[in-house]
């Protein structure tokens, strides 16, 4: 495939792409929802600010049309459609292109799912592209409608920040759920270890590593935004981006905690197996030591010599049993002193 070919690469196909459109300035706000086929009616805004969210990416034609309207580079369009990108920031002459990801935690498989969120920050517009449900950005829509925090009066760069902030906030939900699963697993492990737990530990480990690999480049992206070499953000918005950066670093550290925890669980699991072998060898040894001498004694008195002591004695049988009992008692006392009969 030649570079620049516009084909959707990714798993999620929604029924029909939807365009949600906010045109606003400090005073006014107009909200619209368009089907994909009306995308051709859109134009670059001449005044005010525009936030356009596309939900559903399998329609390459739509992205192409929007790309032409908002003068996007072919590579940008390709990256929007190829939803297996890692987080990155590309700076073009007229706009910043930011790729980031939403994460979802699948409780059953203890696995991480993700969805690519592409942002285009132009002079006076922000485009956001997502594959799945539009609900994710609903709180921002609410803030626009109610103008909470005077968001309409702030620049279009603040809108880009708000979207990024929303993405990063979502990460902590994933972290919380993973942390819970982790603690449950540890509790079960301390009670009774089995091979299935090992699989779970590894699954969580893999998920945490996947998350880590996805967040590190995002950290770089935000760091680039904070450095603000392109002057795409106002000084005030940079302060807020710095805040997002702090959140990501905090997130990475919490993730490290989870990985430490999983590493410790692995050690506990392995040593619990060794411990169990230990317990069983000990049980075997104890039983063997208790019964072998008695068996030998019974064998000795079962020999067919003509002359043997005790055999004729009326209580000889009980003498022999008593001898067996004595030896067993002495053995038990020795085990007791060596603490071989305790459970650990």
């Amino acid at each position: 495939m030649a570079p620049g070919s516009l084909v959707h690469v990714g798993e999620v196909k929604t029924k029909a792409p939807t365009i949600s459109l906010f045109e606003y300035d400090a005073q006014t706000l107009s909200e619209r929802t368009l089907p994909a086929k009306e995308a051709s009616t859109l134009a670059m805004p001449t005044k005010g600010k525009l936030w356009l969210n596309v939900h559903g990416l399998h329609d390459a034609e739509l992205v192409k049309q929007l790309g032409e309207t908002f003068k996007l580079h072919p590579l940008t369009m390709e990256d929007i459609l190829n939803t297996t990108q890692r987080p990155k920031i590309d700076s073009y002459d007229d706009y910043l292109f930011i790729v980031t990801r939403f994460f979802y935690y699948d409780d059953k498989r203890m696995a991480i799912n993700s969805e690519q969120i592409s942002l285009v920050l132009g002079k006076n517009f922000v485009l956001s592209f997502q594959e799945r449900a539009t609900g994710s950005f609903e709180p921002i829509r609410e803030r626009l409608r109610s103008d909470r925090g005077h968001i309409r009066g702030l620049g279009i760069d603040y809108m880009a920040y708000a979207l990024l902030d929303m993405v990063v906030d979502r990460y902590f939900e994933v972290l919380e759920k993973m942390g819970e699963d982790c603690e449950n697993l540890e509790e079960v492990l301390l009670r009774k270890s089995n091979a299935k737990l090992l699989k779970n530990i590894h699954q969580l480990k893999r998920s945490s590593m996947e998350l880590r690999r996805a967040v590190w480049p995002l950290r770089e992206v935000i760091n680039t935004l904070v450095r603000n070499d392109d002057k795409a953000f106002t000084d005030n918005t940079v302060l807020y981006l710095r805040d997002v950066y702090d959140h990501i670093v905090h997130f990475i550290e919490s993730l490290e905690s989870i990985r430490d925890m999983l590493g410790g669980m692995m050690d506990i699991y392995l040593s619990s197996i060794s411990n169990r072998v230990n317990m069983e060898v000990r049980a075997l040894t104890v039983v063997t030591m208790l019964f072998m001498p008695a068996t030998l004694i019974s064998g000795i008195f079962g020999m067919n010599f003509d002359v043997m002591p005790w055999l004729k004695h009326p209580n000889g049988f009980w003498f022999a049993l008593g001898l067996m009992g004595c030896i067993a008692t002495v053995m038990t006392l020795i085990f007791w002193r060596r603490q071989w009969l305790s459970r650990s």
Copy 2:
């Protein structure tokens, strides 16, 4: 939640926030303690220096009021109230904002607790915010009252240094207690290893990693202060900050020692389990080897053949027992030479 919303995030709720206030210059000192509701009577100091310590952060309104009085950025107020921050330094136009943490070591759980300390260093004022008891800064209050080291005559930046120095000094107490627990654990481990020790080793390991993750960013914070790009500190105070930096680096290295020690203990624990399996398999082998030949001999002389040697002999029984004894003695000698009867 929109960015900039002022809500307390954290676990510790004191009954009522208290404001403790020191206004001083080289000659004079006035000390006051205010309840939260009188915060509105405060004003930015026009001459002299001001140190204001807030103890108790669940009253967001109080922080908001102080923020307005001392012209703090909304993000600063949010960070003060969100007490799960990692150490950081944010430089604003009119002030430096420093987040750091006090650590407490919980002996019983071998765990680390912590409390956020936020500092705001303005032109002629320092604000400090803490969630728990005010006692931590008492020695500084004493120094102010007695003017030891002429602290009143030094700039407000020295006051900020004094608070940071107090925070870092506290770290060494935690380190000392962890080191003690570590050595106790090692002593117990060398006497007798059991699964509970493993849990303790892991708990200490996790605590040391948590501490490490908290101190590394603080190291960066102090390093930033020492570089003093904002010229917020006088040259003299920078010398003292360099001293704090040395302390932190020293702390980190001591922490590494503890982690090495814990790593070594883990190895010792694992090899002690293997060693025990070894000992028990050996015990089993020794017992089996001693009794099996004897049991076989008793079985042989228990066979019902018409013609068998020794059976008719008056001392045949003792011959057989003697044979058993001989074999056992030879076996014991072999074990002795192979050092299988020693304890290690």
Copy 3:
């Protein structure tokens, strides 16, 4: 061997080197295929653009002749012929020399084979040298012939990009096959581990490390191209090179995932061995515990004492068997409660 000696170092010898030649500009295109002996008829192009691909490198004389025609440094010629180079970029006065590698995945041995691709990017020509089949660059030939994406109108630097892009795209094929093998292996491992799997895991691990070592320097090469200090590429081509760079970073991260997976499989393998020892020791213990008491009882009633209880009783035999049965039942119940009879 003196530096600069032109001798082919490498394993692959094709029958006869072939030269494939494209001379083109925005309007025209001429394609030719020459045998090695006609290389002397070639000349540096005076107008238009030239892409010359050499397939087969064992004929040092051919490379020398081309080197003289296109004014290559002796070291460049040496590097082209020594096909065990790692990826690198060397900047000479008149051209850029880029060494990169194609990778092939050998399914049977789970091993990586590779072939060196050398590129020379001059003012208006690109030379490419490969040891094996020319098929690899066929799609680019197609694009040239059909002028898809107006490739003929773009600069010669875009042609160099197109070749590099083709090389990197190939990497993902290798990755995909390795990932598949990896997942198959894991599935087998979870069903039944054996020593052969260990060998496979290690082979895959080694292949992934080999791949990693080969791709890291290529990443550096592309990064150098993106920085474009030599101004060898137009701004537009740099955008495309940045895309290649993203692909490589993505590739490296996917490779890390595979390595994590292999690391996890190693752990699972090792713990499965321990688990099996565990199971077998337990089986041994259970059997010993069930039979030893019964054997002792049979021994006791086999003793030759004159006076022994039950011996004369008509049902004595069944009493003894019953006693054996009772003890075995009690033992089984104990094992049952300790869950020693389950399979994990």
Copy 4:
């Protein structure tokens, strides 16, 4: 404790501090030894060069007096008295302050002891402070007295270099002893591993890590001196400092070798335990396999059936014994072929 309080922190208390004083220039040399109480008679030298060595640091008053005479910053005095510092270099207006450490290797405990050496390099004086015996710098005193290498004619910075060089040279003695202990340990380990060796390996590991942590910052210190940003050293002395730097790097690498060796010994130890379990399980298996069939045969011929073969035969007993012997021989042959009777 307020910063700047002058209290001795450290373990070593000599009886009485001694001051040893060298005043010299290219032509003259005067050597004096003063008790601590005469420190007040000292003055900053106006001409010539001064080397003052203080041995014994528990007398804070003495350090204070010297500090005033030579115009040291309070923090410098504090650092001199607190002998638990890590190596560092602090640059003040009038002097350089260097903290470094002597190391001693305690053969019995395989542990590292250390002593802080503080150096102050002023315009025309060098002060050195040490806690223990003065003998360490004796060779330098000798060189001063005999003016070997024209040391008196060289600048005071060369004297500072000479002291640092002496400190670093001492490190190699420690390294040599550790290396010897390491090799002895390995030799013992290969002959016979036991749990005490594990403790020794860990003790050496810990010592080597302690040493490493102490030498890395010293490396930084010397590196700073070699960069010579303060111009405190002449170009010629910098050449010599570069030599010291090379020594430290060499030292660090040799230390790494020792750590590799210790890591390898740990592996050998662990696998030797596994090997021993292996040997013993094999011994148990061999013995069980040899005796079990024989015991069964004896049991069979001990059964009380009326009709049994061989029982009446005069050589039946020997037939049975022969059968036992045959089976044992066959078993032994099988073990022989599987190499189970060899020692590894």
Copy 5:
């Protein structure tokens, strides 16, 4: 020992040092070999180029004399004589001083030996110092004599490059031999692991780490030469040095491959021990399970009850044997189904 003392530190003492001398320019060449005592007749060349190779370093006086003739710094002379240096480059006013090492692989001990090669590159002379046989540089002497590649016409810096290139080329011989040993070891390991192999793996690991530690600083040295801050090399020679740099990086990566391989072998070794324990425990379990029931049956029919079934029956004995056989067969079938009788 005072710094600058000229004493030979090293193990190799050749009988008598030899000086081999090449004086040449583009047209002429004069070759001489001098004994050490005639060193005083040498003088700095006034025209043409000089390459002087000293073989044998125990004669400190010779080095001192050469040092005076060619105006070497005392530290340079010290470094030449102390042949335990790590690779480094020191830049003096009049010359560059380069320390590098030849490596030899000792097949028997699987260990690395090395020899220090010191180079001094002056305006128009190169001095090379080696401890052992002069043969190593013979190919360069040949090239000088035959003027292959017009080496005589190139600058003295090219001669320094030629010597360095020769040193680095030698490294690959060591690598090749190590790689062979490594592969042989792996082959043996897969057939049969034993404790001696572990020692060999560790020895190779240690050798590879030693090599790595020696090559990394050399990489830095060559990198410094390539950067050519001193302008000691012509642009053309720098191209050749870049080639040497590529070789070293390639060498380091191949070394990493060997280390990966050794790491994998370690894992295989350890799991092979576990596997063997597994096999033996299984053998023990199988035998015990086969014989214990039969032994119990023989014991039961050996009891002395008056009334017992089968005893009077003429085929009772065979019934009992049949019962034993049946149980053993059933057991064997169970083992068969659980695949306990296979070899892995």
